[in-house]
């Protein structure tokens, strides 16, 4: 009965709306569809320059004996940092679980923040001597080239083009580029998105947006931050968000209405970015990473923050000399 009356109401309503509006010269206003600021749709992606050949994972071997905290070799980059009294690290503040500000405590927290604090502990004997500088995806390499920070820990993918501009530590996190979609959307891979000629969002200046732009049938959309991509996904303005699964995990954790799907598109090794000139700091950082790997601290931190991605991959260190 109730269903019948509902049907009648619906019928009556459609009948009403079908009638021409009384005396209406009024135009139907266009809906406002807001977008996050600085969205590029379609994204402008520079055609990838031919990658120089190298082993992107191979970094510099750590010193035979690591210096004790606070006693760095005179004249070294580490000595300069210790004298200054603080380690300046470029990070993200909006990557949930990797590096974000905990609203309860007001402190920064996440897997990458843990790593920065461990490097501070090795330098000063105190994990709290880090000055965090929040930087955007696009700024990751430039701030190193301008020596505005000592290092960047912000899921920088190690590749041969970037090795020309900066140095990397050994790999501390192995991520894979995947996609996040709305639950129930029926999309399980980028091929599905391509089939419906849909749009995929990634951040400006990332390796992810470059990968997406090469797939025919997909409209690449770029934003300043991965969070803006999630906003677009929630508002139905894109069909998927694609970047490292370690970052995507943070998106899914914020919106249970989304899910991480699809086969890995690529393997994205992350290393600590360090200015080209400071090879001594690269070796020192690799020493710290070695210790964190052997004591299991790196794996523990991974499990604490990123357990949803499965067991820690704990990438092994590869050295070039």
């Amino acid at each position: 009965m109730r269903r019948l009356s509902l049907a009648l109401v619906v019928l009556a309503l459609t009948a009403c709306s079908a009638a021409p509006p009384a005396g209406g010269t009024e135009e139907r206003p266009a809906a406002l569809r807001p977008r996050p600021q600085n969205v590029a749709d379609p994204a402008v992606v520079a055609s990838p320059s031919p990658q120089p050949r190298c082993d992107p994972l191979a970094s510099y071997r750590p010193p035979a004996a690591m210096p004790a905290p606070g006693r760095m070799p005179a004249g070294s980059t580490m000595d300069r940092i210790v004298r200054r009294g603080r380690l300046v690290v470029g990070i993200d503040q909006n990557a949930y679980l990797l590096a974000y500000r905990d609203r309860t405590t007001g402190d920064l927290a996440g897997f990458e923040i843990d790593l920065a604090r461990e490097i501070s502990r090795a330098l000063f004997g105190d994990p709290g001597r880090v000055q965090f500088r929040h930087i955007t995806t696009q700024d990751r390499i430039p701030v190193l080239q301008r020596h505005e920070v000592d290092m960047v820990i912000r899921t920088v993918t190690m590749n041969c083009a970037r090795w020309q501009q900066v140095n990397f530590s050994t790999e501390y996190l192995r991520a894979r580029q995947r996609i996040v979609v709305n639950r129930g959307s029926g999309i399980t891979s980028l091929d599905d998105v391509a089939a419906r000629r849909g749009k995929v969002c990634a951040t400006k200046g990332s390796t992810s947006i470059a990968t997406i732009a090469t797939i025919p049938g997909i409209g690449p959309v770029s934003t300043d931050s991965t969070l803006d991509c999630l906003v677009l996904l929630q508002q139905g303005q894109v069909d998927a968000v694609s970047t490292n699964d370690t970052i995507l995990l943070g998106l899914v954790a914020q919106d249970p209405g989304t899910e991480l799907v699809g086969p890995p598109l690529s393997s994205e090794p992350s290393g600590v970015g360090i200015p080209k000139e400071n090879v001594d700091l690269v070796r020192f950082t690799n020493g710290v990473l070695d210790r964190l790997r052997s004591t299991g601290a790196l794996a523990r931190s991974y499990r604490r923050w990123l357990h949803a991605l499965g067991p820690a991959p704990t990438p092994a260190a590869v050295y070039r000399d």
Partner: protein
């Protein structure tokens, strides 16, 4: 002598009658009455037209400009307040929440009032109406985004900040520009109405002088014909015409002056001040958004610098407030005090940026909610009071202009009737003497 001619050459009885003294007197009376009527009607029409324009200033263009400025201000304030509330560590204060809700209510009410007012205003191409429709459609979308931001923020999720940035982007890229276009349209229309109301009706003045001359001529004719020095009726009529003319010139002149002053030192200053207020509120939103963006806020910081430079210039004396101080009827001391507050705010803001850029985020947030926040509040309040005072002053000028014109209308109507009556009564006795 010309006046002897009619007695000798008689053509027709009517022409003959017209050429006799009583006939001439009747013709003169008719001419004077016609001139008097012409002048009264022209004067009433001229005053009436100006009164309509002043009425338009007072009841349509003026209020519409005020609505437009209200929309502009309340939307900017909502943007600034939503961002400031977001920044408060933990939970937003109820004072900020109330202020945000008040802003939204005020913007909504002003949009509705302005939409109603545009229907009675001359709105070529529906330019104002289109802006208002865009604002009416955008405001609920904006508040929806802000509430989504709050909901995520309450769950301690960084996603909340992303929604707030989107809300602020909608406000800055779509809604505020629409409000600004509306302000430009409406203040332009107001200035136009003021200008059109403020031209002096010279033909009416000339008609009055012609009437005066005609009265004097008729008096001279009667003196010669009747050997009576003064015809009381014509004398009263002449006196009434002089009084009416002086009254008309003084009242309309005063109305014109009030409208001109109202436009120059009222509306124009008012618009500059409104721009200044919006610049302050935008900069306040920038300050909060830069901190909320956590590293992605360089564009907001640039915008802050732009707003403050636009407000007080690089030296703290130029910009919009410099123009206000240099404008007519400005309270220099007060404007300088406001510019001083803005300069102090900029200096305090630089301290916040130094802390944040140096990675001392918590201290930066704490400082931002301290002295810079208090200075912003003072600045906002001072500007608010000054804008109010300017607005009242402007209203008073328009009211005075309306009162002037009402006086002129009474004078022209009353004295015009008196002129007509006096002419008829004054000449009737003389005409009767010849029967």
């Amino acid at each position: 002598m010309l006046l002897d001619v009619p007695t000798r050459i008689a053509a027709s009885p009517a022409a003959q009658r017209a050429r006799t003294t009583p006939g001439l007197l009747t013709a003169i009376t008719a001419g004077l009455v016609a001139l008097g009527l012409l002048w009264s009607v022209a004067g009433l029409l001229a005053v009436g037209r100006r009164a309509d324009r002043v009425d338009d200033v007072r009841t349509v263009s003026g209020p519409l400009s005020v609505h437009a400025l209200d929309i502009y201000r309340s939307l900017s304030d909502a943007d600034a307040t939503a961002a400031a509330a977001f920044l408060g560590a933990g939970t937003e204060t109820s004072a900020l929440r109330t202020r945000y809700l008040d802003d939204v209510a005020e913007a909504g009410a002003a949009i509705a009032s302005a939409l109603r007012a545009t229907s009675s205003a001359n709105d070529p191409g529906r330019a104002s109406e289109n802006q208002l429709r865009l604002l009416a459609a955008g405001l609920p979308v904006y508040t929806g985004l802000v509430e989504t931001a709050r909901a995520y923020d309450r769950q301690q999720l960084p996603l909340g900040a992303a929604y707030l940035r989107e809300a602020s982007g909608l406000m800055r890229d779509t809604l505020l520009p629409a409000a600004q276009r509306l302000v430009t349209l409406e203040t332009g229309r107001l200035a136009d109405a003021q200008r059109r109301g403020a031209d002096f009706p010279v033909p009416v003045l000339i008609a009055g002088l012609v009437l005066l001359l005609a009265l004097a001529g008729a008096q001279a004719f009667l003196t010669r014909r009747t050997n009576r020095l003064i015809n009381p009726g014509l004398a009263v009529a002449s006196l009434a015409t002089v009084v009416a003319l002086v009254w008309f010139v003084v009242a309309v002149g005063s109305a014109v002056g009030n409208l001109n002053i109202g436009r120059e030192s009222g509306s124009e200053q008012f618009t500059r001040l409104a721009e200044a207020r919006v610049a302050v509120l935008q900069a306040r939103a920038d300050e909060s958004l830069t901190l909320i963006a956590r590293g992605d806020g360089r564009a907001d910081e640039r915008h802050y610098a732009e707003m403050l430079t636009g407000l007080i210039g690089n030296d703290g004396r130029g910009g919009l407030l410099g123009d206000v101080a240099a404008g007519p009827g400005a309270d220099r001391a007060q404007v300088e005090r406001i510019a001083g507050l803005a300069a102090r705010w900029r200096a305090l803001h630089d301290d916040v940026r130094e802390l944040d850029d140096g990675g001392r985020y918590d201290e930066a947030v704490e400082l931002a909610s301290g002295p810079p926040s208090a200075t912003f509040e003072q600045l906002d309040r001072a500007l608010d009071e000054y804008v109010d005072a300017t607005g009242h002053w402007f209203d008073a000028r328009a009211d005075q202009a309306a009162a002037d014109l009402a006086g002129a209308r009474t004078a022209v109507a009353g004295l015009g009737l008196l002129v007509l009556a006096a002419v008829v009564l004054g000449t009737r006795n003389r005409i009767g003497e010849y029967r």
